[in-house]
Symmetry: C2
Subunit: 177 residues, 2 copies
DNA sequence: GCGGGATGCTTTAGCCCTGAAGGAACATGA
DNA sequence: TCATGTTCCTTCAGGGCTAAAGCATCCCGC
Protein backbone atom coordinates (compact mmCIF):
# COMPACT_ATOMS: atom_id res chain seq x y z
CA UNK A 1 0.00 0.00 0.00
CA UNK A 2 1.08 3.49 -0.85
CA UNK A 3 4.29 2.75 -2.68
CA UNK A 4 5.30 4.85 -5.65
CA UNK A 5 8.82 3.35 -5.71
CA UNK A 6 9.77 4.01 -9.29
CA UNK A 7 13.04 2.97 -10.87
CA UNK A 8 15.15 -0.10 -10.28
CA UNK A 9 12.70 -2.00 -8.19
CA UNK A 10 10.06 -1.77 -10.87
CA UNK A 11 12.47 -2.68 -13.64
CA UNK A 12 13.69 -5.73 -11.73
CA UNK A 13 10.16 -6.87 -11.00
CA UNK A 14 10.10 -9.91 -13.33
CA UNK A 15 12.91 -11.62 -11.39
CA UNK A 16 11.59 -14.68 -9.55
CA UNK A 17 12.71 -13.67 -6.09
CA UNK A 18 13.77 -10.24 -5.06
CA UNK A 19 15.90 -9.67 -2.02
CA UNK A 20 15.69 -6.12 -0.93
CA UNK A 21 18.94 -4.24 -0.88
CA UNK A 22 19.65 -1.70 1.78
CA UNK A 23 18.93 1.68 0.24
CA UNK A 24 17.65 -0.15 -2.77
CA UNK A 25 16.28 2.12 -5.41
CA UNK A 26 18.32 5.03 -4.20
CA UNK A 27 20.05 7.09 -6.82
CA UNK A 28 23.45 5.91 -5.71
CA UNK A 29 25.86 7.48 -8.11
CA UNK A 30 29.23 5.89 -7.69
CA UNK A 31 29.98 2.35 -8.57
CA UNK A 32 31.92 1.85 -5.35
CA UNK A 33 28.89 2.65 -3.25
CA UNK A 34 26.71 0.35 -5.24
CA UNK A 35 29.15 -2.51 -4.83
CA UNK A 36 29.40 -1.80 -1.14
CA UNK A 37 25.65 -1.84 -0.62
CA UNK A 38 25.34 -5.10 -2.46
CA UNK A 39 28.20 -6.62 -0.52
CA UNK A 40 26.71 -5.46 2.75
CA UNK A 41 23.33 -6.77 1.78
CA UNK A 42 24.63 -10.25 0.99
CA UNK A 43 26.65 -10.47 4.14
CA UNK A 44 23.85 -9.19 6.35
CA UNK A 45 21.33 -11.63 4.97
CA UNK A 46 23.57 -14.65 5.33
CA UNK A 47 24.68 -13.59 8.77
CA UNK A 48 21.11 -13.04 9.88
CA UNK A 49 20.20 -16.47 8.62
CA UNK A 50 23.07 -18.12 10.48
CA UNK A 51 22.20 -16.24 13.64
CA UNK A 52 18.62 -17.38 13.41
CA UNK A 53 19.64 -20.94 12.70
CA UNK A 54 21.86 -21.13 15.75
CA UNK A 55 19.13 -19.77 17.98
CA UNK A 56 16.40 -22.00 16.67
CA UNK A 57 18.30 -25.25 16.30
CA UNK A 58 20.79 -25.03 19.14
CA UNK A 59 19.65 -22.19 21.34
CA UNK A 60 23.08 -20.68 20.84
CA UNK A 61 24.48 -17.69 19.04
CA UNK A 62 26.86 -16.94 16.21
CA UNK A 63 29.45 -15.19 18.40
CA UNK A 64 29.57 -18.15 20.75
CA UNK A 65 30.12 -20.40 17.75
CA UNK A 66 32.92 -18.13 16.62
CA UNK A 67 34.64 -18.53 19.94
CA UNK A 68 34.38 -22.30 19.78
CA UNK A 69 35.66 -22.30 16.21
CA UNK A 70 38.64 -20.22 17.18
CA UNK A 71 39.44 -22.34 20.18
CA UNK A 72 39.40 -25.43 18.02
CA UNK A 73 42.43 -24.02 16.28
CA UNK A 74 44.26 -23.64 19.58
CA UNK A 75 44.53 -27.18 20.91
CA UNK A 76 46.55 -25.97 23.88
CA UNK A 77 44.12 -23.16 24.62
CA UNK A 78 44.36 -19.46 23.95
CA UNK A 79 44.62 -16.42 26.13
CA UNK A 80 41.78 -13.93 26.19
CA UNK A 81 43.89 -11.54 24.19
CA UNK A 82 44.57 -14.09 21.51
CA UNK A 83 40.88 -14.81 21.31
CA UNK A 84 40.03 -11.16 21.10
CA UNK A 85 42.53 -10.58 18.31
CA UNK A 86 41.47 -13.65 16.39
CA UNK A 87 37.80 -12.77 16.59
CA UNK A 88 38.27 -9.09 15.82
CA UNK A 89 36.15 -8.13 18.78
CA UNK A 90 36.89 -6.12 21.86
CA UNK A 91 38.46 -7.52 24.96
CA UNK A 92 35.48 -6.98 27.19
CA UNK A 93 33.26 -8.76 24.76
CA UNK A 94 35.35 -11.89 24.86
CA UNK A 95 35.13 -11.90 28.62
CA UNK A 96 31.38 -12.27 28.62
CA UNK A 97 31.28 -14.78 25.78
CA UNK A 98 33.79 -16.99 27.53
CA UNK A 99 31.85 -16.70 30.78
CA UNK A 100 28.75 -17.99 29.06
CA UNK A 101 30.52 -20.89 27.39
CA UNK A 102 32.22 -21.66 30.68
CA UNK A 103 28.99 -21.89 32.59
CA UNK A 104 27.65 -24.16 29.85
CA UNK A 105 30.67 -26.40 30.31
CA UNK A 106 32.01 -26.00 26.80
CA UNK A 107 35.25 -24.28 27.72
CA UNK A 108 37.50 -24.30 30.76
CA UNK A 109 39.76 -21.56 32.02
CA UNK A 110 43.04 -22.05 33.82
CA UNK A 111 45.60 -19.48 34.94
CA UNK A 112 48.58 -19.06 32.65
CA UNK A 113 51.60 -20.69 34.26
CA UNK A 114 54.07 -18.07 33.12
CA UNK A 115 51.96 -14.92 33.44
CA UNK A 116 49.90 -14.06 36.48
CA UNK A 117 47.68 -11.68 34.54
CA UNK A 118 46.69 -13.96 31.70
CA UNK A 119 44.35 -16.90 31.76
CA UNK A 120 44.14 -19.64 29.21
CA UNK A 121 40.83 -20.87 27.93
CA UNK A 122 40.43 -24.15 26.10
CA UNK A 123 37.68 -26.39 24.79
CA UNK A 124 36.45 -29.18 27.01
CA UNK A 125 35.59 -32.57 25.56
CA UNK A 126 31.95 -31.60 25.72
CA UNK A 127 32.75 -28.35 23.97
CA UNK A 128 34.59 -30.10 21.22
CA UNK A 129 31.67 -32.43 20.61
CA UNK A 130 29.21 -29.58 20.69
CA UNK A 131 31.25 -27.64 18.22
CA UNK A 132 31.35 -30.54 15.79
CA UNK A 133 27.58 -30.53 15.63
CA UNK A 134 27.32 -26.78 15.26
CA UNK A 135 30.03 -26.65 12.62
CA UNK A 136 28.26 -29.14 10.43
CA UNK A 137 25.03 -27.15 10.50
CA UNK A 138 26.97 -23.96 9.90
CA UNK A 139 28.63 -25.42 6.84
CA UNK A 140 25.35 -26.75 5.51
CA UNK A 141 23.67 -23.36 5.81
CA UNK A 142 26.48 -21.65 4.00
CA UNK A 143 26.57 -24.21 1.25
CA UNK A 144 22.84 -23.81 0.80
CA UNK A 145 23.19 -20.05 0.48
CA UNK A 146 25.89 -20.45 -2.17
CA UNK A 147 24.23 -23.38 -3.90
CA UNK A 148 23.08 -21.26 -6.84
CA UNK A 149 26.60 -20.19 -7.73
CA UNK A 150 28.65 -22.13 -10.28
CA UNK A 151 32.09 -23.22 -9.14
CA UNK A 152 33.98 -20.88 -11.46
CA UNK A 153 32.04 -17.89 -10.25
CA UNK A 154 32.69 -18.92 -6.68
CA UNK A 155 36.40 -19.03 -7.38
CA UNK A 156 36.26 -15.71 -9.18
CA UNK A 157 34.46 -14.14 -6.25
CA UNK A 158 37.08 -15.55 -3.93
CA UNK A 159 39.81 -13.89 -5.95
CA UNK A 160 38.05 -10.55 -6.20
CA UNK A 161 37.48 -10.48 -2.48
CA UNK A 162 41.19 -11.00 -2.02
CA UNK A 163 41.85 -7.91 -4.12
CA UNK A 164 39.30 -6.02 -2.12
CA UNK A 165 40.94 -7.08 1.10
CA UNK A 166 44.31 -5.78 0.08
CA UNK A 167 42.67 -2.61 -1.16
CA UNK A 168 41.09 -2.14 2.23
CA UNK A 169 44.36 -2.89 3.94
CA UNK A 170 46.43 -0.43 1.94
CA UNK A 171 43.74 2.18 2.52
CA UNK A 172 44.08 1.56 6.24
CA UNK A 173 47.81 2.14 5.93
CA UNK A 174 47.44 5.27 3.87
CA UNK A 175 44.99 6.90 6.23
CA UNK A 176 47.23 6.46 9.25
CA UNK A 177 46.87 3.24 11.23
CA UNK B 1 54.89 -14.17 23.05
CA UNK B 2 53.81 -17.78 22.93
CA UNK B 3 52.63 -18.00 19.36
CA UNK B 4 53.30 -21.16 17.46
CA UNK B 5 50.75 -20.20 14.76
CA UNK B 6 52.27 -22.08 11.90
CA UNK B 7 50.99 -21.89 8.37
CA UNK B 8 49.43 -19.05 6.50
CA UNK B 9 50.11 -16.29 8.96
CA UNK B 10 53.80 -17.01 9.03
CA UNK B 11 54.03 -17.49 5.29
CA UNK B 12 52.24 -14.21 4.63
CA UNK B 13 54.45 -12.27 7.00
CA UNK B 14 56.38 -10.26 4.36
CA UNK B 15 53.19 -8.64 3.02
CA UNK B 16 53.08 -4.95 3.83
CA UNK B 17 49.74 -4.96 5.58
CA UNK B 18 47.90 -7.97 6.79
CA UNK B 19 44.26 -7.82 7.57
CA UNK B 20 43.31 -10.71 9.69
CA UNK B 21 40.44 -12.83 8.49
CA UNK B 22 37.97 -14.24 10.91
CA UNK B 23 39.04 -17.81 11.54
CA UNK B 24 42.08 -17.12 9.48
CA UNK B 25 44.39 -20.04 9.24
CA UNK B 26 41.65 -22.48 10.05
CA UNK B 27 41.52 -25.65 8.04
CA UNK B 28 38.31 -24.59 6.33
CA UNK B 29 37.54 -27.32 3.90
CA UNK B 30 34.83 -26.18 1.59
CA UNK B 31 35.20 -23.41 -0.88
CA UNK B 32 31.83 -21.95 0.08
CA UNK B 33 32.89 -21.47 3.64
CA UNK B 34 36.14 -19.85 2.61
CA UNK B 35 34.33 -17.42 0.34
CA UNK B 36 31.87 -16.67 3.10
CA UNK B 37 34.57 -15.94 5.66
CA UNK B 38 36.35 -13.64 3.26
CA UNK B 39 33.14 -11.87 2.36
CA UNK B 40 32.25 -11.44 6.00
CA UNK B 41 35.69 -10.17 6.78
CA UNK B 42 35.57 -7.48 4.09
CA UNK B 43 32.15 -6.32 5.06
CA UNK B 44 32.92 -6.26 8.77
CA UNK B 45 36.07 -4.25 8.31
CA UNK B 46 34.47 -1.64 6.09
CA UNK B 47 31.43 -1.42 8.29
CA UNK B 48 33.55 -1.01 11.38
CA UNK B 49 35.46 1.75 9.68
CA UNK B 50 32.30 3.59 8.68
CA UNK B 51 30.90 3.24 12.17
CA UNK B 52 34.05 4.64 13.64
CA UNK B 53 34.11 7.49 11.16
CA UNK B 54 30.58 8.54 11.95
CA UNK B 55 31.28 8.55 15.66
CA UNK B 56 34.53 10.46 15.45
CA UNK B 57 33.65 12.99 12.79
CA UNK B 58 29.96 13.57 13.44
CA UNK B 59 29.24 12.01 16.80
CA UNK B 60 26.58 10.00 15.04
CA UNK B 61 26.10 6.36 14.11
CA UNK B 62 25.74 4.25 11.02
CA UNK B 63 22.15 3.16 11.76
CA UNK B 64 21.08 6.76 12.18
CA UNK B 65 22.69 7.56 8.85
CA UNK B 66 20.82 4.66 7.30
CA UNK B 67 17.54 6.09 8.50
CA UNK B 68 18.33 9.49 7.05
CA UNK B 69 19.39 7.92 3.77
CA UNK B 70 16.17 6.00 3.53
CA UNK B 71 14.05 8.99 4.36
CA UNK B 72 15.74 10.95 1.63
CA UNK B 73 14.15 8.56 -0.82
CA UNK B 74 10.70 9.25 0.62
CA UNK B 75 10.17 12.95 0.00
CA UNK B 76 6.66 12.76 1.43
CA UNK B 77 7.79 10.83 4.45
CA UNK B 78 7.52 7.17 5.31
CA UNK B 79 5.64 5.23 7.93
CA UNK B 80 7.54 3.39 10.60
CA UNK B 81 6.68 0.14 8.91
CA UNK B 82 8.04 1.29 5.58
CA UNK B 83 11.21 2.39 7.30
CA UNK B 84 11.55 -0.88 9.11
CA UNK B 85 11.10 -2.87 5.90
CA UNK B 86 13.46 -0.68 3.93
CA UNK B 87 16.17 -0.90 6.54
CA UNK B 88 15.75 -4.60 7.18
CA UNK B 89 15.62 -4.03 10.91
CA UNK B 90 12.99 -4.73 13.47
CA UNK B 91 10.11 -2.45 14.23
CA UNK B 92 11.12 -1.63 17.76
CA UNK B 93 14.56 -0.71 16.61
CA UNK B 94 13.22 1.89 14.21
CA UNK B 95 11.21 3.43 16.99
CA UNK B 96 14.26 4.29 19.02
CA UNK B 97 16.34 5.45 16.07
CA UNK B 98 13.59 7.81 14.98
CA UNK B 99 13.21 9.10 18.53
CA UNK B 100 16.88 10.02 18.59
CA UNK B 101 16.81 11.75 15.24
CA UNK B 102 13.64 13.50 16.26
CA UNK B 103 15.12 14.92 19.42
CA UNK B 104 18.08 16.08 17.35
CA UNK B 105 15.70 17.88 15.03
CA UNK B 106 16.63 15.94 11.92
CA UNK B 107 13.27 14.30 11.38
CA UNK B 108 9.69 15.21 12.22
CA UNK B 109 6.77 12.90 12.89
CA UNK B 110 3.17 13.60 12.06
CA UNK B 111 0.12 11.36 12.39
CA UNK B 112 -1.01 9.66 9.21
CA UNK B 113 -4.16 11.35 7.94
CA UNK B 114 -5.85 8.18 6.78
CA UNK B 115 -4.76 5.76 9.48
CA UNK B 116 -4.94 6.47 13.17
CA UNK B 117 -2.35 3.83 14.03
CA UNK B 118 0.39 4.90 11.67
CA UNK B 119 2.63 7.91 11.90
CA UNK B 120 4.64 9.43 9.12
CA UNK B 121 8.22 10.49 9.64
CA UNK B 122 10.04 12.83 7.27
CA UNK B 123 13.30 14.71 7.04
CA UNK B 124 13.36 18.29 8.22
CA UNK B 125 15.33 20.93 6.35
CA UNK B 126 18.03 20.62 8.97
CA UNK B 127 18.00 16.87 8.58
CA UNK B 128 18.36 17.14 4.83
CA UNK B 129 21.35 19.41 5.19
CA UNK B 130 22.92 17.20 7.82
CA UNK B 131 22.45 14.16 5.64
CA UNK B 132 24.20 15.83 2.73
CA UNK B 133 27.32 16.29 4.82
CA UNK B 134 27.23 12.77 6.18
CA UNK B 135 26.58 11.23 2.79
CA UNK B 136 29.61 12.89 1.29
CA UNK B 137 31.90 11.56 4.00
CA UNK B 138 30.28 8.17 3.69
CA UNK B 139 30.94 8.07 -0.02
CA UNK B 140 34.52 9.21 0.44
CA UNK B 141 35.25 6.47 2.97
CA UNK B 142 33.85 3.81 0.70
CA UNK B 143 35.72 5.06 -2.31
CA UNK B 144 38.91 5.04 -0.27
CA UNK B 145 38.33 1.43 0.75
CA UNK B 146 37.79 0.41 -2.87
CA UNK B 147 40.51 2.62 -4.27
CA UNK B 148 42.88 -0.29 -4.85
CA UNK B 149 40.44 -2.08 -7.13
CA UNK B 150 40.55 -1.61 -10.89
CA UNK B 151 37.28 -0.63 -12.54
CA UNK B 152 36.81 -3.93 -14.36
CA UNK B 153 37.26 -5.92 -11.19
CA UNK B 154 34.80 -3.67 -9.45
CA UNK B 155 32.25 -4.32 -12.16
CA UNK B 156 32.97 -8.05 -12.07
CA UNK B 157 32.49 -8.08 -8.31
CA UNK B 158 29.22 -6.26 -8.75
CA UNK B 159 28.00 -8.92 -11.13
CA UNK B 160 29.12 -11.82 -8.96
CA UNK B 161 27.38 -10.35 -5.97
CA UNK B 162 24.22 -10.20 -8.02
CA UNK B 163 24.46 -13.93 -8.69
CA UNK B 164 25.11 -14.52 -5.05
CA UNK B 165 22.06 -12.51 -4.13
CA UNK B 166 19.77 -14.53 -6.31
CA UNK B 167 21.38 -17.70 -5.01
CA UNK B 168 20.61 -16.58 -1.48
CA UNK B 169 17.09 -15.65 -2.46
CA UNK B 170 16.30 -18.94 -4.15
CA UNK B 171 17.74 -20.74 -1.15
CA UNK B 172 15.40 -18.77 1.06
CA UNK B 173 12.52 -19.82 -1.14
CA UNK B 174 13.57 -23.46 -1.19
CA UNK B 175 13.87 -23.72 2.59
CA UNK B 176 10.39 -22.33 3.14
CA UNK B 177 10.40 -18.53 3.32
C1' DG C 1 65.95 -3.68 44.11
C1' DC C 2 62.56 -0.55 42.51
C1' DG C 3 59.89 2.91 40.11
C1' DG C 4 57.43 3.80 35.95
C1' DG C 5 55.48 2.35 31.83
C1' DA C 6 53.36 -1.52 29.24
C1' DT C 7 50.24 -5.39 29.11
C1' DG C 8 46.12 -8.65 30.28
C1' DC C 9 41.87 -8.67 31.84
C1' DT C 10 37.42 -7.07 33.89
C1' DT C 11 33.88 -3.73 34.64
C1' DT C 12 30.70 -0.31 33.21
C1' DA C 13 27.91 2.90 30.40
C1' DG C 14 25.82 3.19 26.28
C1' DC C 15 24.18 2.01 21.61
C1' DC C 16 22.35 -1.46 18.28
C1' DC C 17 19.42 -5.27 17.50
C1' DT C 18 15.80 -8.85 18.10
C1' DG C 19 11.56 -11.21 19.54
C1' DA C 20 7.65 -11.30 22.30
C1' DA C 21 3.95 -8.99 24.60
C1' DG C 22 0.63 -5.54 24.64
C1' DG C 23 -2.42 -1.48 23.34
C1' DA C 24 -4.75 1.14 19.99
C1' DA C 25 -6.83 1.55 15.62
C1' DC C 26 -8.60 -0.62 11.59
C1' DA C 27 -11.32 -4.12 8.71
C1' DT C 28 -14.62 -7.52 7.96
C1' DG C 29 -18.37 -10.57 8.14
C1' DA C 30 -22.46 -11.95 10.47
C1' DT D 1 -23.60 -3.28 15.35
C1' DC D 2 -20.34 -5.60 17.13
C1' DA D 3 -17.02 -9.46 17.70
C1' DT D 4 -13.03 -11.11 15.79
C1' DG D 5 -8.88 -10.88 13.71
C1' DT D 6 -5.29 -8.07 11.64
C1' DT D 7 -2.10 -4.34 11.40
C1' DC D 8 0.81 -0.46 13.31
C1' DC D 9 3.42 0.83 16.70
C1' DT D 10 5.68 0.84 21.36
C1' DT D 11 7.80 -1.32 25.33
C1' DC D 12 10.73 -4.53 27.47
C1' DA D 13 14.08 -8.23 28.39
C1' DG D 14 18.18 -9.97 26.78
C1' DG D 15 22.36 -10.58 23.93
C1' DG D 16 26.17 -8.41 21.12
C1' DC D 17 29.40 -4.86 20.68
C1' DT D 18 32.55 -0.83 21.90
C1' DA D 19 35.43 2.52 24.38
C1' DA D 20 37.06 4.06 28.56
C1' DA D 21 38.32 3.38 33.27
C1' DG D 22 40.42 0.60 36.63
C1' DC D 23 43.22 -3.18 38.74
C1' DA D 24 46.71 -6.48 38.84
C1' DT D 25 50.80 -8.08 36.99
C1' DC D 26 54.82 -7.93 34.26
C1' DC D 27 59.10 -5.86 32.36
C1' DC D 28 62.93 -2.87 31.91
C1' DG D 29 66.31 0.53 32.90
C1' DC D 30 68.60 2.53 36.43
Amino acid sequence: MRRPRAGRAAAAAPTPVEIREKHDGALVGRMEVRVWLRLLSCSMIIEKRLRRGFIEKFDSTLPRFDVLATLERFPDGATMGELSRSLLVSNGNVTSLVRQLESAGFVATRPAPDDGRASIVALTASGRAHFAVLAQAHRAWIEAAFAGMPREELAALYQLLATLKTSIATDAEASGK
